[in-house]
């Protein structure tokens, strides 16, 4: 019997999230979405609890988590940065913006800065191609970002 450790309030929160979707297996993606919103990421323990509550296999939960690039199993920063690499953003220089971010924060894609403040990830199209290239930080969206704007944007979060 293997044991999974998770703090009590976290388990309760997760159970509540599952309940808010009537513990339906078909709501798995929405449940994971909420769980990640609350915990910042989806560690194995969280997936175990979700699987149990929705009565689906853990392998299935893990399959969904690894399929969608939005879900992450590593803790994200306090301010998660996503750079859109969809076609429109890409051709308008998203890659340069990304390089600039990596240079400033000194972490590769998919990882979090040592102080836990920022994490960098890429995503495919946020549906705002008119604003390309697009960067999102937390809930905020930045449009028509140029590599030269990166330093100023990051400054907004330094206090």
């Amino acid at each position: 019997m293997a044991k999974i450790k998770l703090a009590k309030d976290k388990i309760e929160k997760l159970i509540d999230i599952c309940k808010s979707f009537n513990n339906e297996g078909s709501e798995l993606i929405n449940v994971l979405h909420q769980a990640q919103h609350n915990f910042g990421y989806l560690p194995a323990e969280v997936q175990e609890v979700v699987a149990r509550e929705l009565d689906v296999s853990v392998a299935h939960v893990y399959g969904v988590v690894t399929f969608y690039s939005f879900f992450t199993m590593v803790p994200m920063g306090e301010f998660p940065i996503s750079v859109c690499m969809g076609t429109a953003c890409y051709v308008r220089g998203a890659e340069k913006v990304l390089e600039e971010l990596k240079k400033h924060l000194k972490v590769p894609i998919g990882e979090t800065t040592e102080d836990g403040k920022f994490s960098i990830s890429c995503l495919r199209c946020v549906g705002a191609c008119g604003l390309a290239p697009v960067v999102t930080i937390g809930e905020r969206t930045y449009g028509r970002v140029a590599a030269g704007d990166v330093a100023d944007i990051l400054k907004e979060y330094q206090n």
Binding site: M1, A2, K3, I4, K5, L6, A7, K8, I11, A44, E45, Q47, E48, V49, R52, V56, S57, V58, A59, H60, V61, Y62, G63, T66, F67
Partner: protein
């Protein structure tokens, strides 16, 4: 009434029901379209047709693109070409792309000669791979029963259908996406740490060498070649009903005598029968059933009913992982394999004048979970397993071929004694319904003190996934449930858990069909009609036996007189019973 439509396939007119796939329609007029991911288990009402492999594409007049025939439906007036040059060209390209990410291990691959991918590549005449791309590299995951070599996976996902839909085990899922996608247990943990039951149904349907059994043939050859070892073998009932298939014999041919001769030729010191141990299982499990039933009838509220059979190791793994709260409901009787082991090493070894450490007990099993079962710690004495290892029906067939025996023309010999004598009751253990029928034969006579006039309980036989029957024990009506396939077992188990079950006894076998459909049997390539034929073979052997009730096996009677004492007695409990473990992942509050 079904609406029928007419269309043309390869210049032949065909009439099919609306909704029929092109693949099925083609089959109807004898046109075989090659498939890799498609799997249709008709008897189980399971059709797996994701249309992912693209090998089954066909050309449809008036359509721009080729259509995957396994999941494209026929329409009236269609003109389909299944083997046009455009189709062959596409199939070849698809195959080359698939092979461009597949190891060229055919010379040493366990599946070689029995591999759908290899066969189709050969049939397509692929001689060169024009694409050089990235190759997947995964760690080979070796469990005690199953080996996963995901470099050889072609993402047909048949294993997922077996694991999740048929067996409801949920150990496997496709993970990641694009080129990175692969079938794996949760968190890519080793199979051994997952909820896998080792039923082996994934191995039975894998079209490549990605999923294979852990092969113990080389270990066996070493032991047989070692003059200091006394190597004895036991053969499970289901093996004799399927082994012949590996040598081109008709499905359902009984090869008991030839199998015994082959084993003797291989050099086993004694050739025994797991059926003997099956008779012993009936003595123990049947006694336990009557004890629990007696207590229940006396008004004991604590007694656990229904009693569940426990001779299937895949099933034992299943409830330990998924229903551990019910682990005190199954019988504590060990499986026949694990009853044979301790009797061989504690009783037979003395009779033969062999030291325990010099005796190797090998089992021939239709099953992969048996490989795991014999390695369980509770079945070892000071690290020495009661059964050293288990060989599948397929591995035995290979070994017989290696030893250059012409199996079909082998003479027929009898098992050795004392552990080769068995009754018809032991034989039918190999098919769904057989264990409970064997138990009923003995329990009836012990309970009523009367002789059964007719030992055939036809109500317990059949291939339906869940069956129930009432058996009259001289005025006491017993409700008996039967499930085969773990998905069906789950349904009965949930009823028991929710207090909705009125059964007194339930027989469960993990594999569809019971052991005859085990994960170690000759591959049926999706044709589940072979199961009923194998079952019929076992019922034939039962009908032809002089003794058909376990408690009348003279060697079983002798074993109790000379060694064990009485069923469920002290020594029986030590050697022939077991206990179960809670293997569910527990979520602990920090």
């Amino acid at each position: 009434m079904e609406q029928m439509i007419k269309l043309t396939i390869d210049n032949k007119e065909v009439e099919v029901a609306k909704g029929t796939t092109m693949l099925t329609a083609a089959k109807q007029i004898g046109v075989e379209i090659p498939t890799l991911c498609h799997m249709h288990l008709e008897d189980m009402n399971i059709e797996h047709n994701p249309g992912g492999c693209r090998i089954c594409v066909v050309e449809v007049d008036g359509r721009r693109n080729l259509a995957p025939s396994c999941n494209s439906k026929c329409e009236a007036g269609m003109n389909i070409k299944t083997h046009s040059m455009r189709v062959l060209n596409a199939r070849k390209t698809v195959m080359e792309l698939m092979l461009s990410d597949h190891p060229f291990d055919c010379l040493v691959c366990a599946k070689s000669g029995n591999c759908d991918l290899q066969t189709i590549a050969q049939n397509l005449g692929v001689r060169e791979i024009h694409y050089a791309g990235a190759k997947s590299t995964y760690k080979v995951d070796t469990s005690p029963a199953i080996i996963r070599d995901m470099d050889k996976c072609i993402m047909c996902r048949r294993c997922e259908t077996m694991c999740n839909d048929v067996q409801t085990v949920g150990a496997l899922s496709a993970i990641n996406r694009g080129f990175e996608s692969v079938v794996a247990p949760a968190f890519e943990m080793d199979l051994e740490k997952s909820t896998c039951t080792y039923c082996g149904q994934c191995v039975a349907v894998c079209p490549t060498g990605a999923l294979t059994e852990k092969d113990h043939t080389n270990q066996l050859i070493r032991d047989l070649a070692n003059p200091n070892k006394t190597v004895v073998v036991q053969t499970a009932p289901a093996v004799r009903a399927a082994l012949g298939e590996e040598f081109g014999m008709e499905v359902g041919t009984l090869v008991t005598g030839k199998m015994v001769t082959a084993l003797r030729n291989l050099g086993f010191d004694s050739v025994f029968d797991t059926d003997f141990a099956a008779d012993l299982t009936i003595m123990e499990e049947g006694t336990e059933l009557l004890q629990r039933l007696g207590a229940h009838l006396k008004g004991d509220k604590d007694v656990k009913l229904p009693i569940l059979t426990s001779c299937c190791p895949g099933w034992v793994n299943f409830f330990e992982h998924h229903f551990p709260e019910m682990k005190d409901i199954p019988s504590t009787a060990r499986s026949p394999q694990q009853m044979f082991g301790p009797i061989a090493k504690n009783y037979l070894a003395k009779e033969m004048g062999v030291k325990r450490e010099d005796m190797i007990v090998v089992s021939i099993m239709p099953c992969l979970a048996k490989k795991y079962e014999c390695q369980r710690d509770e079945f070892k004495v000071d690290g020495d397993p009661d059964v050293n290892y288990s060989i599948s029906t397929r591995e035995l067939a290979n070994l017989i071929k290696q030893a250059n025996m012409d199996f079909v023309t082998l003479p027929e010999e009898d098992f050795d004694n004392p552990m080769g004598e068995s009754t018809g009751a032991g034989v039918i253990f190999g098919t769904t319904g057989g264990v409970i029928e064997a138990a009923t034969r003995t329990a009836y006579e012990v309970y009523t003190g009367k002789t059964l006039e007719k030992v055939d309980f036809n109500a317990l036989r059949g291939m339906e996934g869940i069956r129930s029957a009432k058996v009259d024990f001289d005025g006491l009506e017993l409700n008996i449930g039967i499930a085969h396939g773990l998905g069906n077992a789950r349904k009965l188990l949930e009823e028991v858990r929710d207090g909705k079950s009125n059964y007194h006894a339930i027989e469960i076998m993990a594999c569809p069909g019971g052991c005859i459909g085990g994960g170690g049997q000759p591959l049926h390539h999706g044709d589940t009609s072979v199961l009923a034929k194998r079952a019929a073979a076992l019922y034939r052997e039962d009908a032809g036996k002089a003794i058909r009730k376990s408690h009348e096996n003279p060697y079983i009677i002798k074993l109790y007189e000379e060694f064990l004492g009485k069923p469920c007695g002290e020594l029986s409990h030590k050697l022939l019973h077991t206990h179960y473990f809670d293997k569910k992942n527990e979520i602990e509050i920090e």
